[in-house]
Amino acid sequence: MKLALKPGLLLVEVLAAGLFLLFLSPFFLVLINSAKTAFEVTNTPMSWPDNWGNLATNSVSIWTNTTIQYQSSFFSSFLITVLSLGALNLLSSQAAWALVRTKTKTSSFIFFMFVAAMVIPFQIVMFPLLSWFRAITVFTGLDLLRSYQGIVLAYLGFGVSLSIFMFHGFIKSIPLELEEAATIDGCRKHETFFRIIFPILKPIHATVLVLNGIWIWNDYLLPLLVLGKGNDIQTIPVAVSNFAGTFVKQWDLILTAILLAMIPVVVFFLFAQRFIVRGMVAGSIK
């Protein structure tokens, strides 16, 4: 779309730049106020910080704070996200392939069940899930609440519908001849998947990773219920809310905690930006 008039284009440029700054200004406010003392944050939140050294002081106090447990929370968030994504991508892709390539009533029913369940909101499942997990722990001795295996299992269960749906759509477009050729060459059924299909799935793996990754890393309600606040294992959002609830109105510290919580995401995003944006768009259109 060419805009004929030069001044018109200039106006659009100015508008875009202004909106851009407006969109990012909240993050900028977090940054400058993380470099202030409690007194400065309350009295002059809109001014430039006097001494950027405060940023280091505040960061150290968050880093060593026993309520937010930043280091262990970061580690927990990371471990939960990586394990859940690994399980979701591997198990959903192999299940989706089996469901596409096996044409039986059972197979169609299972696929239909996954798709239909996408309308179930978390709210209707969350309370019974807790008592059900507790019951399983009593019967089997396997801890599902406040444990890594429990929350990873929960993410696998809640994420599997959309993941299978997306893999299913992609696998359907792969020509069957490819697999038939492999079979003729003596490839066993499971080998066909891991050697032939799995590598072809790369782009859809990326999309599923991005969609689930953003969801799991930022999720608040599920870890709040399954892990609880202030326990040994807590994710970053739970830790931040626990911290903000304890240090009410101590904005110098809360904002620094927020800054430290955002940095890993922003850094990761800048590295994998194209990949993430493409994944998010592809995911929404399916």
Binding site: M1, K2, L3, L9, V12, E13, L15, A16, L19, F20, F23, L24, F27, L29, T44, P45, M46, Q94, A95, W97, A98, T102, M113, F114, A117, I120, P121, Q123, I124, V125, F127, P128, L130, S131, W132, R134, A135, L153, L156, G157, F158, V160, S161, K189, H190, F193, I214, N218, D219, Y220, P237, V240, A244, W251, I258, I276, V277, M280, V281, I285
Partner: protein, 306 residues
């Protein structure tokens, strides 16, 4: 024959893990949940032991609670305004960054960024902005003294706090929806625009007569996504307003910005009434499914007309 056996074995080995996890985490709790909503279920009862069937009591009690009706009312209002605001802003941004301006790629990244940060954290940031940063402007900038008055705080009034939820919701989600619109706008063939331009169509009529109809399918998707996202809003609600400030509704004091998801949570854990919270969750599920179905149906119809 042997081949068939092997295929069958591989099918079950590949499918069983996800089916197992899915049954355990979604399907069983779903049916348990529907059942519990008709009982006297409490958190101390282990997996339903010692609970009594009470029919629709939990549902009747939910509808008698004015706070619940009020939550529904404001959730509908919030969803409607939020949907309009997000889509309006997102479409505008998409038009902006698909024009020939410099730095459009940088702008796309910037507009998208809030979407990567969790709603909980975004809510705290904006609580600081509304309660501290904006009043501070009132203290320093002449002519804006009104902003510094405690009674003018946005989060201090019921309507203001709901508006604040819309502002944060739009800021959070517009960048994502923008990306979908960008994909739709860029898929419109350039020839259409060129042909229309030769016929004398200006930028505005080209947008209304070419871009919008060609992006009709994207509208169905974005409307659905923003509807579900707004209706389920919880994280921003918790950290920005926590349901406050209090207000009066049909003569009773209640929380003024407690959206439905937060109401369900509070009923179960703050009022300690798990069975009733569960009944509300079932109502929430039914209403959400209905509203989403109607929206997709209407949009699809509109799509065909365009």
């Amino acid at each position: 024959m042997n081949k068939k056996k092997e295929n069958n074995a591989v099918f079950w080995v590949f499918v069983t893990p996800v089916v197992f996890a899915f049954l355990l985490v979604v399907i069983v709790p779903f049916f348990l949940g529907v059942w519990y909503s008709f009982t006297t279920w409490t958190s101390s009862a282990r997996a339903g032991a010692g609970t009594q069937f009470v029919g629709l009591t939990n549902y009747f009690k939910s509808f008698q609670d004015v706070a619940f009706s009020f939550s529904f009312l404001i959730t509908f209002g919030y969803t409607l305004v939020n949907m309009v605001a997000i889509n309006f802003v997102a479409f505008g941004l998409a038009l902006l960054v698909t024009s020939k301006i410099k730095g459009r790629n940088l702008y796309r990244v910037g507009f998208f960024l809030p979407n990567l940060i969790g709603g909980l954290i975004l809510g705290y940031i904006w609580q600081f902005i509304f309660n501290n940063a904006i009043p501070a402007l009132g203290h320093t900038v002449p002519g804006l003294e009104g902003l510094a008055k405690p009674e003018n705080l946005i989060l201090a009034t019921n309507t203001g706090a709901l508006m604040a939820l819309v502002i944060v919701g739009t800021w959070q989600y517009a960048g994502y929806i923008m990306m979908i619109y960008i994909a739709a706008i860029e898929s419109v063939p350039m020839e259409l625009h060129e042909a229309a331009q030769i016929d004398g169509a200006g930028p505005w009529s080209r947008m209304m007569k070419i871009t919008v109809p060609m992006a009709a399918q994207a509208f169905t998707v974005t409307m659905f996504l923003t509807l579900v996202q707004s209706f389920k809003q919880f994280d921003v609600n918790v950290s920005l307003t926590a349901g406050g400030p209090s207000t009066m509704f049909v003569g009773k004091p209640i929380l003024g910005t407690e959206l439905i998801a937060l109401n369900i949570y509070n009923t179960a854990f703050v009022s300690n009434n798990l069975a009733q919270g569960q009944a509300r969750a079932v109502i929430f599920f039914v209403v959400l499914a209905l509203v989403a179905l109607i929206q997709v149906y209407l949009n699809k119809k509109k799509e065909l007309e365009l």
